[in-house]
């Protein structure tokens, strides 16, 4: 439930989303790249449709605030670019996830999904292009980071997004429809499918600011805790919210017979678990004192969001 204390946080999230939107628009401009290379109009339109859709930009927010925590007052331009690259990965995964052979969704945030607005082939290619653009963006020295940090960002994002991370989690999710996983299986699936990118978002702030290994690990652990919370909150919302609030079909997981921890242990357990995860996330940020208040608010927001 939203309370008065959430309002400054939500305003901060909105302000960050606007910054990220500007950076994403620049990345998805159809101007020529280097030399005479021009990206096909239709492909760029489909990429823009899949990305510039009014998302909350939660993962970019986490990149920006993790970086601000570890290097207060730093020039935020590189962090914004990393945040935008991560959002390209998130959006590509939604485009492919919505395809007829995957979740077969017609709507995303109340708008036609990319394969409905364009066609299936274009949606597949737009996803492929966004995935590739994310690594292009991180590796480019236009980002103004030393090459070791650029390479580390590419590696960490590829690990989070690949077969041992998000894409692997999507595979497990599809298999879960045929054969319900046990509790350990559900936890593994969720840590990969949604947890890995959220963990990366927090870790990225440490990598791009050149923080110590200790800070990097602490931020990554914080990311893991709020990633778990994100998924638990999502499962609760799937049971309780209606389609109008969510901007997408709800109750689908239950209908598909997918096991969730909420289905396994009930809503009371899930809310208690959520509180525990927020406490754990907050405890990880104790060493940073007042500086960490924005990330702490993010943890609470993720656990209590209603859409």
């Amino acid at each position: 439930m939203a309370t008065d204390t959430d309002i400054p946080f939500e305003a901060a999230l909105l302000a960050r989303a606007e910054q990220v939107e500007t950076r994403l628009r620049a990345l998805l401009d159809s101007r020529p790249l280097s030399g005479e290379i021009v990206r096909p109009e239709r492909l760029v339109s489909a990429m823009r449709h899949g990305v510039l859709n009014g998302g909350k930009r939660l993962r970019p927010f986490l990149v920006l605030e993790s970086a601000a925590l570890l290097a207060p007052g730093h020039d935020e331009t590189p962090a914004l670019t990393v945040a935008a690259a991560l959002e390209c990965i998130h959006c590509y995964s939604l485009i492919h996830d919505d395809l007829p052979s995957m979740d077969d969704d017609d709507l995303r945030r109340g708008q036609p999904t990319v394969h409905r607005a364009f066609d299936e082939a274009t949606a597949i290619l737009a996803g492929d292009a966004l995935l590739t653009l994310a690594f292009d963006t991180l590796a480019d020295d236009a980002i103004d980071l030393p090459s070791d940090r650029r390479a580390a960002l590419v590696l960490a994002l590829a690990r989070a997004a690949g077969a041992g991370g998000m894409v692997g989690g999507q595979m497990l999710d599809i298999e879960a429809e045929k054969s319900a996983p046990d509790e350990a299986g559900i936890i593994r699936l969720q840590a990969m499918k949604t947890g890995a990118l959220i963990r990366f978002a927090c870790e990225a702030g440490a990598i791009l600011t050149g923080a110590s290994t200790g800070d990097r690990e602490r931020l990554a652990e914080f990311g893991s805790a709020i990633g778990l919370a994100f998924q638990l909150a999502d499962d609760l919302l799937d049971l309780t919210a209606d389609a109008g609030t969510m901007g997408k079909a709800t109750g689908k997981d239950a209908a598909a017979g997918k096991g969730t921890l909420v289905a396994l242990h009930g809503q009371v357990w899930a809310r208690k678990q959520l509180n525990g995860l927020v406490e754990q996330a907050h405890a990880l940020l104790e060493p940073y004192g007042e500086q960490a208040s924005m990330l702490k608010a993010a943890a609470a927001f993720i656990a209590n969001r209603n859409n």
Copy 2:
């Protein structure tokens, strides 16, 4: 047509393919990655099906031979890893290209395509995972290259594979079925769809060995010339070869009404053009003398191949 002088080249190509195969098998092993992260079996099986299929490994060959030209006697381990990463990109593009909403092919090298052997969702995810794995591999310091070279390889490959390269070319190819492009349009489409990765293959040898900008540009230009030759030879084969020789359906481009330069100017012109491109490619390698004989043979092979 194969002649006696091609035999040493074909033996070299086969020997290189075996080396690349070994490196690819290691990358696609289903062992745990770092820590407890395990890639789902079904996903790894689909990735292996799409990659370990007896390909000629022409692009990896070009990486290895370009590197050998510029740094004779160097440790080839990093070059082999770069070559394998590039092949992951090539194979992902074939998996997605074969999908029902794209080219809708049932066979690839005489074997069922990934979506036929598994299913469509698994094929989409296997492609996504291979695309991501390529950048994971290039960015990893296990490759034993300085971080500036790793970042440069990621950037150059992402440019070659993304919306301004291969994926953009695939988009133009789909659009060409509805509205036939003019000669400039065909050249642009082909330079992007098949040319960009072949150009990268040659350029990568220069990047990974830390060669001079002059060498890098020369190798990239060589790659562009043989990329054009590759596509012209492909268009000729599509007209003249039968499905048994090619291991896939032939005559499809003509049936789909796709404009090719061969359709526009005829086979005699095309063969003349091919010879001109081989001459141009050979001229670019003149400064390297005898050392370049393997890459020169590759240019001739590409122009004269019969499958």
